[in-house]
């Protein structure tokens, strides 16, 4: 061993709240190497004009390759969700049973699925459903969770205790199991029951984080000062607490978006998520799973698209966390 690896290493950034999905070292980036690095607020700041956390974070993000790549992937996904015909000329519901399970052909790069539908077209059109589920579920979870958790953290007392017990209850229910029970009754073919279910079981996670970060923020001196100056609760919450407590919620919500897309696919695989004729990666994966031995391409393409999407959101969340986490400064 050339050098004892446990030797204290000054170039390693302090990874504090990093937790399970810490990405900081992936880029091989340390605070010292970080563009515009060094202690924040000195040197690069224009005199007389303090930079906010957000503009600081944005400066960091613009130069972070992980952020640029995942951002581009997500932008591409959003564009093809809105206008799938841009890159796929076919109709995802136009199928020819005679071509069922056939492999790649000119004009049909990904081959055909079990019903003879073009896998490429279906994969492109499936992006819309997955992105819709991910974005709507995340918005719902973030809204519910941060409002309930934030208010509980700010006001404390009985409401806080009650909310903590309620989140405990929801945490006690395994997600996939809950999905099977809850969604097995629903016959609707739209995406809304799935989104509703994810919001129902997802909000406690955000509520806990929002609660914790509001409790931290409200103890700050400037909040106490505002209180002493006679600011109303609403003003303290909106002007002083929220802007300083929202960062962890955004980070966790971004990472959760990817996992929600994956969860939708899992529920669809179990037969309780989305249902045809909706075009989604989860449905295609579920339909492909019995044929995986003969025609693995039917599984691999939608699975690849799904994995890239989930990966992009997780990496985006990690990059945003690195930029917003003051401990990395």
């Amino acid at each position: 061993m050339p050098e004892p690896p446990y030797e204290p290493d000054a170039t390693i950034p302090a990874v504090g709240a990093g937790g399970a999905t810490d990405l900081a070292m992936e880029e091989g980036e340390t605070p010292e190497q970080r563009p515009g690095g060094g202690p924040r607020g000195t040197g690069t700041a224009e005199p007389g004009r303090a930079r906010s956390l957000w503009s600081d974070a944005w400066r960091d993000l613009r130069r972070n390759p992980v952020f640029i790549i995942s951002g581009l992937v997500i932008a591409f996904l959003v564009v093809i969700s809105l206008w799938p015909s841009l890159i796929a000329s076919g109709n995802p519901l136009h199928c020819d049973l005679g071509k069922a399970q056939e492999g790649s052909q000119p004009g049909h790069p990904f081959g055909f699925d079990g019903q003879g539908c073009d896998v490429y077209t279906r994969t492109v059109y499936g992006a819309r459903t997955s992105v819709t589920v991910g974005v709507c579920a995340t918005l719902g979870v973030a809204l519910f969770g941060s409002v309930l958790g934030g208010l509980a953290g700010f006001f404390g007392g009985a409401w806080d205790a009650l909310l903590s017990r309620i989140t405990d209850v929801f945490f006690g229910i395994p997600v996939v199991l809950g999905g099977l029970v809850f969604l097995s009754v629903i016959t609707s073919t739209t995406v809304w029951p799935v989104i509703g279910f994810i919001v129902l079981l997802g909000w406690p996670q955000i509520a806990r984080i929002a609660r914790g970060s509001v409790i931290t923020a409200k103890q700050n001196d400037y909040v106490q000062a505002a209180r002493a100056l006679g600011a109303s609760n609403a003003r303290m919450l909106l002007r002083h607490v929220t802007p300083n407590a929202v960062a962890p919620v955004i980070v966790v919500a971004t990472i959760a978006l990817g996992t929600y897309i994956s969860l939708e696919a899992t529920l669809s695989y179990l037969g309780v998520g989305l249902k045809p004729p909706t075009v989604s990666w989860g449905i295609d994966l579920s339909a492909a799973s019995p044929y995986v031995r003969n025609a693995p391409h039917m599984l691999l393409w939608p699975a690849g698209a799904l994995a890239i999407t989930v990966l992009a959101f997780i990496m985006l969340g990690d990059a945003v966390r690195d930029a917003l986490d003051p401990k990395l400064r």
Binding site: T21, M25, G258, L306, L311
Partner: protein, 307 residues
């Protein structure tokens, strides 16, 4: 310590009842429990009314819930759609799933922690970057895709394992399913251990241990690991419940007749007794695992004292 244990146990009670009530309500919304008892045809109204009275389904939901919970505490989980006692189903299903979960946890501990320590001590080196990339990929691919692909490659193409597990479900048959079940958590354990090891390797006590000339192996195993594993133990502990609940996907892929299989059957046949019974036990396992983790804290980290 004793008072803390009692307080935590008391806290579990409302959570347990809340979670089971929630599941009970969900299952009640799930549809007519009588419908499944008459096969594919619709029940005769007179028969339906008699069955309803027999199972107490004509009473309000809260009363049904109380009766059910009363029965559960005397060890009676009711009967499944085919007349089998739910407790009998549990007796065959839980050992299989517990074995599967134990295999998965063994993978998490052995592979996850080893990889985490190796990468944590070699941050920024190629092995670190490589392992991190692999963990990211594992996290982003849904478990059922990983499972289907491993089954296809190992079971069908290369013939290393049997593609489906026999009803005996011995431990060696459960190795690959256990790995699939563990995969995502394995990736998280690796990342968590790595972060924790890297953070603690700069701590003063490690510096002191090195300075007083302890061998490297001892510094890592006695000083660094013991302190770094606290968050990892928490994660693995809370994961026990999640793994048993999440086993439903893995069990479906590899045709394992465990808890997930029984639950799936229960839902298909609208057998609310089976579903509520199994979920109740799973919730209980989850809560007790969390309690155990909290108590383990004090053992692992003497700085934590419970008043």
């Amino acid at each position: 310590m004793g008072r803390y244990v009692i307080r935590r146990l008391l806290q579990i009670i409302p959570v347990f009842f809340g979670a089971t009530l929630l599941i009970f309500l969900m299952v009640n919304v799930m549809g007519d429990p009588i419908a499944g008892l008459c096969g594919d045809r619709k029940c005769d109204p007179a028969t339906a009314a008699r069955l309803r009275a027999e199972f107490g389904l004509d009473k309000p939901v809260w009363q049904q819930y109380l009766t059910y919970m009363g029965n559960v505490f005397t060890g009676d989980f009711g009967t499944a759609f085919n007349g089998q006692k739910v407790t009998e189903l549990m007796a065959t299903a839980f050992p299989v799933t517990i074995r599967l979960t134990l295999v998965a946890i063994a993978f998490e501990i052995v592979i996850g922690i080893s990889l985490g320590v190796v990468t944590g001590l070699r941050r920024g080196r190629p092995v670190d970057t490589g392992v991190l990339l692999v963990t990211l990929v594992v996290i982003s691919v849904p478990t059922f895709v990983t499972g289907l692909l491993l089954q296809l490659l190992l079971g069908v193409k290369w013939g290393v394992i049997r593609p489906s597990v026999s009803s005996a479900a011995t431990v060696d048959e459960l190795l690959v399913p256990g790995l699939v079940l563990a995969s995502v958590s394995l990736a998280y354990v690796t990342r968590l251990t790595r972060t924790s090891v890297a953070e603690n390797s700069r701590a003063d006590y490690v510096r002191t241990a090195v300075a007083k000339g302890l061998p490297r192996r001892r510094v890592i195993s006695r000083h660094l690991l013991r302190n770094s594993l606290i968050p990892v133990v928490t994660f693995i502990g809370t994961d026990v419940g999640a793994l048993m609940g999440g086993a439903i996907v893995t069990e479906r892929i590899f045709n394992i007749h465990g808890v997930g299989y029984q639950l799936f059957q229960g839902i298909l046949r609208q057998s609310s007794q089976t579903v509520v019974g199994f979920v109740t036990v799973l919730v209980l396992v989850f809560l007790l695992a969390n309690l155990l983790v909290d108590l383990l804290y004090a053992v692992l980290d003497p700085r934590i004292r419970y008043a």
